[in-house]
């Protein structure tokens, strides 16, 4: 914070305080938080769709759950990617980890009759190992994590294809749905919560019916719960624990952090393990949801996660960002990705639309942040 250069104290209160402390209003403080720019972007995108998709089903309960589910899945990996990026590193292997984790869950369960919980634990163990290797390679070799994890992007994707073709002769493994009932661990990743509440709301006539005459929303998909929970935990860790400070310090200035006693290497290894963990959570949710695993799952998700984190106000250089911002970034991405189906735009232009909306959101978010910084 800049020292107050004004020779005349603004108020009597300020006089009593340390003269070097400047009184900052709540709003200015709020506006300089990284996620506030993202919030502005979210409001902008929301406003756009309220106008462009007015009269459509986008903001009915069904439409909201529809885009929230897409946002939630991205948000789960974006949260971990945000922590890692704040810690100064990238993980490009997330998308491939999703594909591999799905295969590691589906093949033991479907082909070898493992209980689903054991298969899920296998996937999580392998993910932890991959994260550990990623972190150690980055630490030991001093190579940019961009390069190390780029290597793992190919290695993990290739492993997913190689393993599944070797063991099953195909790249898509179905039939997981049959194994879910009765598995307590799988239940954590499948189904919907608050179904009773929604059934009651439908019986009260508060929820409309859809094209197939069903209540449009039967519950909140469990992926949304995971998303909110992970975002909350990550935010708490970042803001309220010493470990959170270590993450900021590691990403801000590695040497300074190390000199002041932060275990930088351990922090980074644990962050890589967390991104691999979140990719596996993503894979679990998707495998339980679709009932199948496919080696192609998760392709380009690593880039989408980085986009969400950047929209969320994190710096690509590390040391600055937030988990809530990443969640908002994922929300923007989900809204834009699903929103086009409500606007009636010819979907040939899908990717142009997606790219333009994302750029506008980031530019607006940057503009807002700059304004906020100037005001200070």
């Amino acid at each position: 914070m800049k020292p107050n250069e004004s020779t005349q104290p603004a108020s009597a209160v300020a006089q009593q305080q340390d003269e070097r402390l400047q009184e900052v209003s709540f709003w200015k403080k709020a506006l300089s938080r990284p996620e506030l720019g993202a919030l502005a972007g979210t409001v902008l995108v929301l406003a756009f769709f309220i106008v462009a998709a007015s009269g459509t089903g986008m903001f009915t309960p069904a439409g909201i759950v529809n885009f929230l589910e897409v946002a939630a899945q991205l948000g789960i990996i974006a949260t971990a990617a945000a922590l890692l990026m704040i810690g100064g590193e990238f993980d490009l292997s997330i998308g491939s980890m999703i594909g591999l984790a799905g295969i590691l869950i589906a093949i033991p369960a479907v082909e070898y009759g493992w209980p689903l919980w054991a298969a899920i634990l296998l996937a999580f163990s392998c993910a932890a190992l991959v994260g550990w290797i990623n972190g150690n390679l980055v630490n030991k070799t001093g190579l940019p994590s961009f390069i190390v994890t780029l290597g793992f992007l190919f290695i993990l994707r290739g492993l997913a294809i190689g393993i599944s073709r070797l063991l099953t002769g195909r790249t898509q493994v179905g039939g997981v749905h049959d194994h879910i009932p009765g598995d307590w661990f799988a239940a954590l990743f499948s189904g919907e919560v608050a179904t009773g509440l929604f059934a009651w709301m439908a019986s009260q006539g508060w929820i409309a019916t859809n094209f197939a005459n069903n209540p449009v929303v039967t519950g909140i998909p469990v992926s949304i719960v995971w998303w909110l929970a992970l975002t909350a935990v990550a935010t708490w860790v970042l803001l309220c624990t010493p470990y959170g400070n270590w993450i900021f310090a590691s990403g801000g200035d590695k040497n300074a952090a190390r000199n002041s006693g932060v275990p930088v290497q351990r922090v980074k290894i644990s962050l890589f393990m967390f991104t691999a963990f979140s990719a596996t959570v993503f894979a679990c949710l998707q495998v339980m949801d679709t009932g199948s695993a496919d080696t192609i799952r998760g392709m380009l998700k690593e880039l989408e996660a980085i986009i969400a984190v950047v929209i969320g106000g994190a710096l690509l250089t590390g040391g600055y960002g937030s988990a809530i911002g990443a969640a908002l970034g994922a929300l923007i991405f989900g809204m834009v990705q699903m929103g086009i189906f409500y606007t009636g735009v010819n979907t040939d232009w899908f990717q142009v639309f997606l790219g333009v909306m994302l750029l506008v959101a980031v530019l607006f978010n940057n503009y807002m942040r700059k304004k906020a910084m100037e005001a200070k």
Partner: protein, 350 residues
Amino acid sequence: MYNLQKCQYGTNIPIRHARTHLPHNDNHEDLTMARLSQWLLASTSAVALVAGTAQAQDTAQTQEGNRFVMVTHGVPSDPFWSVVKNGAEEAAEVVGAELEYRAPSSFDMAKMQQLVDAAVASNPDGLIVSFTDEDALGGVVQRAADNGIPVISINSGGDVAQNYGTRLHIGQSEYEAGKQAAERMQEMGVEKGLCVNHEQGNQGLDQRCDGFLEGFDGNAEQLATTYDPTSIRNAIVAYLNENSDVRGILTLGALAAEPMLQAMREQGATDMFTLGTFDLSPGILESLEQGGLDFAIDQQQYLQGYLPVMFLDQYVKNGLLPAGNVATGPGFVTQENAAQVIELSEQGIR
């Protein structure tokens, strides 16, 4: 047997085969036999063994057998091409010809060009080529024709291959297949259709959608999605909520068919819609049998292997050749013949 399989799988498998503008788009969508492909590989090798012995006997008895070379772009581990190869080998056995099957270890047109080059240099009695890339293959195929080697193109390139001296094309017109899907849906009472394209820019998939839209006289729309299953499913639900008059949905591969079927199951709306897809997979065959899915379009690739060998043999022996291209697809698989297809896929024929 297990070791052999290991060797086959050990070859380069392209990370994203479908990206490569393959009309049949097989890596994910054409997993005709999927779970059975292990068996298939074994059976292929068994056939190869039998063919090998038969061939040895042949050469001892007659020196007359023609030698044909087949070069395709299908990587060795690809189940789609195992079926093509099965067809070709069985035909070669029937006519007593010697068949050499060659394919690059990864989807690479430069490698394939070298293979065709080598095949032409070996001066076979006939050449069979999947004509995937006009620029890479046109020159060498023309040279084969100039040297008096009869060439038949299969699977892809039906529209351009004959500019380079090929005699005949055997395959499926993607555009025509999409159009027939639309006509079939209209016969089933659909007035407005939807084509779910999970990979816009893939030439083969785009042609399927174009044909479908044309078949509906514009009374259908294309829905572009990513290949993420959750996005596909939610996009379909969102679209149907906005467009309640759509009653027919076509997906372009198993990758998108399964999320579509899931959306229908979850909404309990399977009976409200006429559902069709390209390509077969275990899940698709099961849905067909149970009546959830109304039809699946299959290009009967067994014939893409079997017929060119037969035709070339007739041409070399008797100068006979069909006068026009042969369409092996679209073949429609429905509830009525699903059981038979499942059985044939176990034998490596579908």
